[in-house]
Symmetry: C2
Subunit: 644 residues, 2 copies
């Protein structure tokens, strides 16, 4: 029985008749439509996803598709057969890729349900009407304002700043004694006592619309990337998102090299200024998008690892690097933006979220909040792999955490052709299991310059599954391919020939590169196995694995499992949450109770120092294989190997 298959899409309009159980990929081929299958049609890369808009199909594999994707009709052309007349929409392939890779990660930011600015926000915008002065009432401006705050809003103690005093007289008179004050009521709201001091951030002439935007911003300072969300505190909505590479990168790829640089003459000041420049730059960009000014931003909540927090504030970080690995300060007081050096309103409340230890910082406490590990009913593993790897295991009753010095291999460092995920980086690789020929995607679409983290994971996984690499990470020089060869650093595999690359040199992965990557992934895998052991939990007992960080944003679970970076468990247990740190900062920015929860999280988390423990070293060495010395722990990988 034949079925009518209709293909539509940009510049695509074709119909073919094919029998039941024909692969969509084949039907498309018949229709003259090119649907790329970089992985050779094994359903591993997801690049051939199309949308079934009508009719019945059967999906053999949906590995690369999320439930939401399937809900919307997506199907992998290489893994899906027709069972009747079918209408297919073929998205622009890059668009699909983008959608797939981002869809799993950055959900549209939804305002927390029931967000009530007047209940949970620590910043308030209030109207005041002052008695004008006269010869009979020569009270000073400031007392007059205090009286209005007391009588009209019950705020008994008000603290102010030189900034306010310098602007007070002008604003009161411009507003003809009607003014709008922006106040930080944290102390009152937390204690429920009106005799606690409120702090005036700004005063503006006249009575401004109560519902016009009141700007706040949540910032995550990553070692590599700084992410900023600009938020209207009244509605809670995220109005702009901007990210930029941390300007400190020029002074070191990872936290350790930054700390070393900070210890040099002028280094601390230099690093501080660099990250401030980055932050102020993206703040300005974000503000421009909503036609606001940076000075309109009155509250800033900052997450970031402990080193980033120290460097932002010019606090020496040397003790973080040296045994016994101590931070200067984990819980910072709220400061004013001008003290910190941020280009927001000079008196904006800047809240640097609390960290736990030298290598478990506020990015993790914020991540725990936004991922909800601290209120999870079942045992949850939270994994944040950015430039470093931090792991949290626990539920609403207990939380343990550790950090693994994975190193920046997944950021492309320590790998000869490694690079950061920027223009020209190979970000995904598929290898044909028969020909060993690779297909790759380059960020920005031009000639490749190198391979970034997600590309390396994908390359490692593909090379292993197709047999180019063995379990020990050795290059199989017997493979029938000109791409496999003996190089300066032992066996190597050529991902891109010089003719295709930006530099004209071959882009390869060598034995040494593989070793560095194995050490990085082994550190992370050993981290959560030891953490689980420490509390006597088996990985099987972990009901959910939540992955945050830039890592989770660009790689996929299948390949990460195949190289033994993530544990092999039912993929439905994995959730990729994207930047959980900035999301946690956003939640803390909005809601004082969530902010308190972060403090609680920081207090509750028991930090396990891995380097203090021999168990870790054993787990680490066992994990220095693809995927692991014990393949029994990775049944799905075993099955994949058997398929190939």
């Amino acid at each position: 029985m034949k079925h009518v298959i209709t293909f539509t899409g940009e510049n695509i309009n074709a119909t073919v008749k094919v029998p039941t159980n024909t692969l969509l990929a084949d039907a498309a081929h018949i229709a003259g439509i090119d649907i790329g299958q970089p992985c050779g049609g094994q359903g591993r890369c997801g690049r051939c996803a199309v949308q079934v808009t009508d009719g019945t199909v059967r999906r053999r594999s949906t590995l690369r598709l999320s439930p939401a994707d399937i809900e919307q009709g997506y199907a992998l052309a290489c893994q899906t057969v027709v069972e009747g007349d079918v209408a297919i929409f073929v998205p622009l392939q890059e668009k699909i890729e983008r959608r797939l890779t981002t869809d799993r990660v950055v959900a549209e930011v939804t305002v927390p349900e029931g967000y009530d600015y007047l209940q949970v926000q620590t910043i308030r915008r209030i109207h005041l009407e002052l008695t004008p002065p006269s010869m009979d009432d020569q009270t000073d401006d400031w007392s007059r304002l205090q009286t209005a705050l007391r009588l009209q809003h019950s705020f008994i103690h008000v603290s102010s700043s030189l900034y306010l005093f310098q602007n007070l007289g002008r604003v009161l008179r411009e507003g003809e004694w009607k003014v709008t004050a922006i106040v930080d009521v944290s102390n009152v709201i937390r204690s429920g006592e009106f005799d606690q001091a409120v702090r005036i951030i700004d005063l503006q002439p006249g009575h401004l619309d109560e519902f016009s935007p009141l700007w706040g911003t949540a910032i995550d300072i990553g070692t590599t990337t700084v992410s900023l969300w600009l938020v209207d505190l009244v509605t809670g909505q995220v109005k702009a998102q901007v990210a930029e590479y941390n300007g400190q990168i020029a002074r070191g790829e990872d936290v350790i090299s930054r700390i070393v640089y900070a210890g040099k003459n002028g280094g601390r000041q230099d690093l501080r200024q660099r990250v401030l420049d980055t932050m102020n730059g993206i703040l300005e960009t974000a503000c421009k998008r909503v036609k606001a000014k940076p000075e309109d931003v009155v509250k800033v909540t900052i997450a970031g690892n402990s080193t980033m927090m120290h460097l932002l504030l010019g606090i020496p970080a040397e003790s973080i690097r040296l045994s016994p690995f101590i931070t200067g300060v984990n819980h910072l007081p709220v400061m004013a933006a001008h003290e910190v050096g941020l280009g927001a309103h000079p008196e904006a409340s800047v809240d640097c979220l609390p960290g736990v230890a030298s290598y478990v910082g506020a990015d993790i406490t914020a991540g725990v909040l936004s991922s909800g590990v601290d209120i999870a009913e079942d045992t949850t593993l939270f994994l944040d792999v950015g430039t470093n790897g931090e792991i949290v295991l626990g539920d609403r009753d207990w939380l343990v955490t550790c950090a693994c010095s994975a190193g920046p291999a997944f950021e492309g460092a320590g790998v000869v052709n490694g690079m950061r995920a920027t223009q020209g980086a190979i970000e995904e690789v598929w290898i044909n299991g028969d020909t060993f020929e690779p297909t790759y995607r380059v960020i920005g679409g031009g000639k490749p310059k190198g391979i970034c983290g997600s590309g390396l994971i994908s390359l490692l996984s593909e090379a292993f599954i197709t047999g180019i690499l063995d379990k020990g990470g050795n290059v199989n020089l017997l493979a029938h391919s000109p791409r496999v060869r003996e190089g300066a650093h032992g066996g190597e595999y050529v991902v891109a020939w010089g003719a295709e690359t930006e530099s004209g040199e071959d882009i390869v992965i060598s034995r040494v590169d593989v070793d560095n990557l194995l050490r990085a992934k082994a550190a992370i895998y050993a981290g959560f196995t030891v953490l689980a052991e420490t509390v006597g939990i088996s990985l099987e007992a972990v009901s959910r694995v939540l992955v945050g960080g830039s890592f989770g944003k660009y790689i996929n679970v299948e390949k990460a499992v195949q190289i033994g970076l993530l544990p092999d468990m039912d993929w439905s247990r994995f959730e990729f949450l994207g930047n959980t740190s900035v999301k946690g900062a956003y939640l803390a920015l909005l809601d004082w109770q969530k902010r308190e929860r972060i403090t609680e999280i920081a207090k509750r988390m028991t930090y396990i120092e891995l380097s203090a423990d021999n168990t870790f070293y054993e787990a680490f060495t066992s994990a220095l294989f693809l995927p692991h010395t014990d393949l029994g722990k990775f049944p799905s990988v075993e099955a994949a190997l058997q398929r190939n």
Copy 2:
């Protein structure tokens, strides 16, 4: 009967025999010793004071001598007769003058009785010993410090600054976990509650000697002069005193012109920087004298009039100048030195004392404290005449205050040959009643350039008493002297001929000058008469008149009464207290209860706005005479006129 009179002194060694009741001045003359008598031997100038080291004399008049002077044997040569053999020490005349003019004013600063640093000082220096970190205890530095503060000193809440965080790690490690903290315990000491927050100002490695100096400074910002006392907070001793002209003078002589300048483009910033430069300059000078550094100063208490306080902090002062004459802020919170811009320790507590109104500032509240008006048992009049005139009347039960816009005439402004009390200024004048020839003293001793405030008061008084000026301030052109003549601005009196002066031009006082001075003195006299009337008190009921400010420092009560600036009452009721403002700041710097008393004083003082009242204008016009339209109010002046 003849007596042996021995004179000694620098280059003086002479003996004469004179009969009983011989004037010392005459005996000296016989001995060939020149003792100047600028006032013609009327006992009014005090320049002829000598010291009786042995023997018996009889003093006819001791007008120009304080009880302490007499105690030390001082006697006016023109007013003292011998009654036996006498030994006389003749001081260098300039030295006497200096001693006399300063002795009345700046008493050696004595530490308040029973000053107990540990009881009343808000700044404490405490020793802490922290548990060193280890792999088993990776608590951050800051938490470790907080724990030590809690366990070793019961301070539960500690606030800190970025400055501390930036230095914390280094200091803890340098001190090998033994450190000395300098903390501001104001909140705890004021409330008596240990759960109030203390603020860490500084942390130093090791355990510093508890009794080594802990530096604080009291500063009075005068419109003309900035005075600074450097104080060891442990002992309470003033270790250095430095004064310098306020660098703002170049931008206006009086507060009004400064406010106007501040309103110009960049003016506010310019004035702020200028006074900061002055303050930081004298702070450095003072610190050098005690071999300390400005950064060692951890507490700063500042007094000054409301305009000076606003300009120091960059707060617009325009509303002070314009009806209804409102300050921006009277009660300022304690700030850190780096916020204010002071070169003390960046985290030093800077306490700007509270003012009452636009023209009754913290210089007056501090003055009331140091003069004790607020605890006086009898009605006391406190008068502070610097560039402006402020008056306080009251006792321990009530306090009223007003300000008179005397203007800067006594600072030399508005007077053609007027100038400030600096090098080259004629600071005292004596006129011979017979010849109308003047004698004058020039600051620094060189050729005169002009006449300063004390010189003008002295000149006015002398000219009036000798008949050169009549009651209305008119120059008596009939006086037989070439010094009296018709000038461009009406009648004038030549104080110094061009041949004697720096410029080669005559230094004169004209009718116009006299009018300006009369207005200034009338404003002040009218001020306290109206203030007294307002509360239904006659001036006779005032038991003490306390005079503070630069005015009281350089002029004498006799001459001030003679021109009708001060009320004519028994001179024993007058006390010249010098700079009561800096003294009040000093007391507040030492003792939190005295500091609280200033706040109480500011609250208790009822400000009377003179310009709102017709009574003032009447009193003012009545006072526009020498000494007053009603000579009956000035019996001593009447008597002096009769003597002449």
